[in-house]
C-alpha cells in the first residue's frame, strides 16, 4: 500500500505520542499510587441494614490506630449515613461505601475520591486529609427526584497540639 511520506511521519509521531501517554498513565498509577476501586466482594443490600448483620447496620467512622480511620458509609435515597464525618487533620481514612437502594455516586470535593456506589457492591478508596476544613461529599449519579439534595460532609479538625505548636 502506498503511503505518502508526510503521512508516514505523522503516523510515527501519533504512535510515539500514544506510547508516551500509556507510559505516563502506567507510571502514575504504579508509582504515584493513584488507585481506582477494585473488587471487595458482594453484599446483599436487603440484609445489610439488619442490626448486627454488617458494618452498615450502624454506619460510622472508627479509629483503627492514631491517625488511621475507616468509615463505613451507606448511600440511600437521598442521604449518606453518617451524614457528617469528623476526623483530625493529617488522618488517613479508608471509605467503604455501599448502597441500600439504587446507584449513587460518592465524590469528595477537592480530593481524588470519586467512585460509583452500587447496591450489592462495596466501593473502597482511601485518602489522607491534611488541610483542616469542610469537604462536601456529593452524590454524582442520578438517583431520583431528590438527587441534587444528596450530600454529606467531612469535617477535618485542626489538631490541638499542632495548633498550639504553631502559636
Amino acid at each position: 500500500m502506498h503511503v505518502d511520506k508526510y503521512e508516514q511521519a505523522w503516523i510515527r509521531i501519533s504512535i510515539f505520542v500514544l506510547v508516551i501517554f500509556i507510559i505516563a498513565v502506567l507510571t502514575a498509577s504504579v508509582s504515584a499510587g493513584i488507585q481506582v476501586p477494585g473488587v471487595e466482594g458482594r453484599v446483599d443490600p436487603n440484609l445489610i441494614t439488619t442490626p448486627g448483620a454488617s458494618p452498615w447496620a450502624e454506619p460510622s467512622v472508627r479509629e483503627l490506630a492514631p491517625g488511621k480511620y475507616e468509615a463505613y458509609v451507606l448511600a440511600q435515597i437521598w442521604a449518606f449515613r453518617p451524614g457528617e464525618i469528623r476526623i483530625p487533620a493529617g488522618s488517613e481514612i479508608t471509605f467503604y461505601v455501599t448502597s441500600k437502594d439504587v446507584q449513587h455516586g460518592f465524590k469528595i470535593m477537592e480530593t481524588n475520591i470519586n467512585m460509583m456506589v452500587l447496591p450489592g457492591q462495596v466501593s473502597k478508596l482511601k485518602t489522607t486529609f491534611d488541610k483542616p476544613g469542610t469537604y462536601n461529599i456529593v452524590c454524582h449519579e442520578y438517583c431520583g427526584i431528590g438527587h441534587h439534595t444528596m450530600y454529606g460532609k467531612i469535617i477535618v479538625e485542626e489538631v490541638a497540639t499542632e495548633a498550639a505548636a504553631s502559636e
Binding site: M1, E7, S29, M116, K124, H148
Partner: protein
C-alpha cells in the same frame, strides 16, 4: 458535432432525473428517517436549553407543568431523543442514500428496508409513551435498579432491532452489487458505511442482552430483581462503541464527501479504509474505561481497556491528517498559496462545508478532553462531573450533530428538489454553533475540573452549590443562549427549504470525493472475513472472562417494594 455538444448537458440532466427515479424508495426512506430525526432533535434541544437555564437559576419547569414534571424527566428525554433517536434515525437515513448512491444500486430487498424503518418507528412510539407519561425517568442510561415501564425497554429494543434490519438491507444490497461487480474495488463511501453498520451489530449485543435477558423480564415481573454491576457492564459494552456509531458517519462524510465540496480530493483513500477497519476492531473492547470508578471490576481489567482506548485514538489521529491534507488539496486547487493561504480559499460561503469544518474543529477539542477521560488516573478528577457533558457536547453534540447539519444542507435540497432556503441563515447557523458550543462546553469543562460540580444534577437547586461556580455557569449559559439562536436557524432553514425553497431544475448530486492516490487498493483492505473475526475475537478476549465472572456471581436483587424514586 455541434448538435451533440448542445444535447450533452440535457442528456446529463435527464439521466440525473432518471437516476432519481431509480432511487425513489431510497429517497422516500431517507426523507422520513431524517425527518423523524430532526423532529426528535427539535424537542431534545428545547429541553437542553431548559436544563442549561436551570443551572443558571432560571427553572422553567415551573411553567412547563404538567407536560414535563421535572428536570430529570426533561433530562431523560433530552438524552434519549438526542443521543439515541436523532443519531440512529439520521444515520440509517443518511446511509440509505450514501450506500445506494455510492454503489449506484438501489436496495436489493426493499421489504427489508421498509421493515427496518417500520420497526424503528414502532419502537420510537413505544419509547415515547413512558417517557412523556413520566414512567421512565431513568435517564438515557437506565441503570438498574431504576425501573422503567416495560414499554420503555421494549421500545428501545425495537429501535435497535430496526436499525439492525436496516443494516441487513444494506448488506444484501452489497452482496448483490458484489455479484455483479466481481473484482471491482468497493467504492469508499459504501465500504466505510457498511463497516460502520457491521460495527453497530457487534456493539449493540451488550445492551440487547441487558434488556432482553434482564431488564425487560424484570419490568414485566418475570424476574425477581437485577444486578446493578452486570447491567452497567453490559450497557457500557455497547455504550462506548455507540460513540463510534455516532462518529463514523461523520467520518464517512469528512473523508468521502467534504474534500469534493472543498474542491479537492481524498488524500489517501486506502489509509481511510484501514481507519474504518481499525474502528471495527477497536471500538468495542474498551468499554471499561467508562467504569474506572466502579466497584467489583479488577483494576487490571480497567487498565487493559484503558490501554486499548489509546489504541482507538490512533485511527482518529490518522483521520486528522488525511482530512486536513484533503482540504488543503481543495484550497490549493482553488488558488490558495503558501502555508496557510489555502485555508482562506476554502469554500467558506458553502454552509454544508462550513458546518462540517467547524464540526471538525470542535471535535479536535473534544478529542483532547476525551484522552483525559480515558486516562485511568486523570479520570478520577473528572468522572461524573460537568466536565463530561462538556466533553460529549463537543463530540456527539458537535462533531456528529453539526456534521449532520452540514450533510442536511445538501441532502434536504436533494430529497425535496428545492434549493437551500437561506444560505446566509445556514452559514450563521454554523458560526453560532461554533461559538455557542465553545462557551457552553468550556464553562462545563472548567466547572467540573475546578469544582467537581456533579453532572446529571439540578444544579440550580443543589444545597452545596457554591457562589464560586457562578462565572463558569454563566459562561455556559451564554453558550446556551447562542446555541438557542443556532438551533432556531437550523430548523428555520430546513423547514423553509422544504416548504418554500426554490424548485431546482436539476437534482442535487451526492458529493463524492475522488482519490488522489491512484495506486490500487490492496485486497486485504477490501475483504471482510478476517476483520470481522478479529473484531469478535478481541471482544471475547476483552469481555469474555469478566462477563463470565459477573454472570456467575449474578445477584438478582429485588427492589424494596413500591420504590419509585421520581
Amino acid at each position: 458535432m455541434s448538435v451533440q455538444s448542445i444535447s450533452q448537458p440535457q442528456a446529463a440532466a435527464s439521466s440525473a432525473k432518471a437516476s432519481e427515479a431509480r432511487f425513489a424508495l431510497e429517497n422516500r426512506l431517507t426523507g422520513w428517517q431524517i425527518g423523524i430525526a430532526m423532529a426528535a432533535l427539535s424537542l431534545g434541544i428545547f429541553l437542553g436549553i431548559v436544563q442549561g437555564l436551570e443551572h443558571a437559576g432560571l427553572n422553567l419547569y415551573t411553567y412547563l407543568q404538567p407536560a414535563f414534571k421535572s428536570y430529570y424527566q426533561g433530562l431523560t428525554i433530552h438524552g434519549v431523543l438526542n443521543a439515541l433517536v436523532w443519531t440512529t434515525f439520521f444515520i440509517t437515513g443518511f446511509f440509505t442514500t450514501a450506500i445506494t448512491r455510492s454503489l449506484d444500486m438501489p436496495i436489493s430487498k426493499p421489504w427489508l428496508a421498509r421493515l427496518g424503518f417500520g420497526l424503528m418507528v414502532v419502537g420510537l412510539l413505544m419509547t415515547a409513551y413512558p417517557l412523556f407519561a413520566n414512567l421512565a425517568t431513568v435517564l438515557y442510561t437506565f441503570y438498574p435498579p431504576l425501573q422503567a415501564h416495560w414499554t420503555f425497554y421494549l421500545g428501545l429494543t425495537l429501535i435497535v432491532v430496526g436499525s439492525w434490519v436496516a443494516g441487513y438491507a444494506f448488506f444484501f444490497t452489497y452482496a448483490a452489487w458484489r455479484k455483479e461487480n466481481k473484482g471491482v474495488t468497493t467504492p469508499f463511501i459504501a465500504q466505510a458505511s457498511l463497516i460502520t453498520m457491521a460495527m453497530w451489530q457487534i456493539a449493540t449485543l451488550g445492551v440487547a442482552v441487558e434488556i432482553l435477558a434482564m431488564l425487560l423480564p424484570w419490568s414485566l415481573g418475570l424476574l425477581p430483581g437485577t444486578d446493578a454491576l452486570l447491567g452497567r457492564t453490559l450497557f457500557w459494552y455497547t455504550g462506548h462503541s455507540l460513540v463510534y456509531f455516532w462518529l463514523l458517519p461523520a467520518y464517512v462524510s469528512w473523508y468521502g464527501m467534504v474534500p469534493k465540496q472543498a474542491g479537492g480530493k481524498l488524500f489517501s483513500e486506502n489509509l481511510a479504509r484501514l481507519v474504518f477497519w481499525l474502528f471495527l476492531l477497536l471500538s468495542t473492547p474498551v468499554g471499561f474505561h467508562h467504569q474506572y470508578t466502579d466497584p467489583g471490576i479488577p483494576q487490571g481489567w480497567k487498565m487493559l481497556h484503558g490501554l486499548f482506548t489509546f489504541g482507538v485514538a490512533f485511527p482518529s489521529l490518522i483521520t486528522a491528517f488525511t482530512v486536513a491534507a484533503s482540504l488543503e488539496s481543495g484550497g490549493r486547487a482553488r488558488g490558495g498559496k503558501g502555508w496557510f493561504g489555502w485555508i482562506k480559499k476554502l469554500p467558506w460561503d458553502n454552509p454544508s462545508f462550513t458546518a462540517q469544518n467547524f464540526a471538525m474543529i470542535l471535535f479536535a477539542f473534544g478529542g483532547i478532553s476525551g484522552v483525559t477521560n480515558a486516562s485511568y488516573s486523570l479520570n478520577l478528577a473528572v468522572h461524573n462531573t460537568t466536565w463530561i457533558p462538556g466533553h460529549f457536547h463537543l463530540t456527539v453534540g458537535s462533531a456528529t450533530t453539526l456534521s449532520f447539519f452540514g450533510i442536511a444542507y445538501w441532502l434536504v435540497p436533494k430529497l425535496s428538489g428545492r434549493g437551500l432556503f437561506s444560505r446566509k441563515a445556514a452559514l450563521a447557523q454554523a458560526w453560532t454553533w461554533l461559538f455557542g458550543m465553545i462557551f457552553f462546553s468550556n464553562g462545563m469543562h472548567m466547572l467540573g475540573l475546578h469544582f467537581g460540580a456533579p453532572r446529571r444534577t439540578m444544579l440550580g437547586a443543589a444545597p452545596y452549590r457554591d457562589a464560586a461556580w457562578n462565572p463558569m455557569l454563566m459562561e455556559s449559559v451564554l453558550g446556551v443562549l447562542i446555541l438557542t439562536v443556532s438551533a432556531f436557524l437550523f430548523f428555520y432553514v430546513i423547514i423553509g427549504t422544504v416548504l418554500a425553497g426554490k424548485k431546482l431544475k436539476e437534482p442535487v448530486e451526492m458529493p463524492v470525493a475522488e482519490s488522489m492516490d491512484t495506486s490500487p487498493t490492496p485486497a486485504w483492505l477490501d475483504t471482510w472475513r478476517g476483520w470481522v473475526y478479529g473484531a469478535v475475537a478481541l471482544v471475547i478476549l476483552a469481555y469474555g472472562p469478566m462477563l463470565y465472572v459477573l454472570f456467575n456471581e449474578m445477584q438478582l436483587i429485588p427492589l424494596p417494594p413500591g420504590l419509585r424514586v421520581w
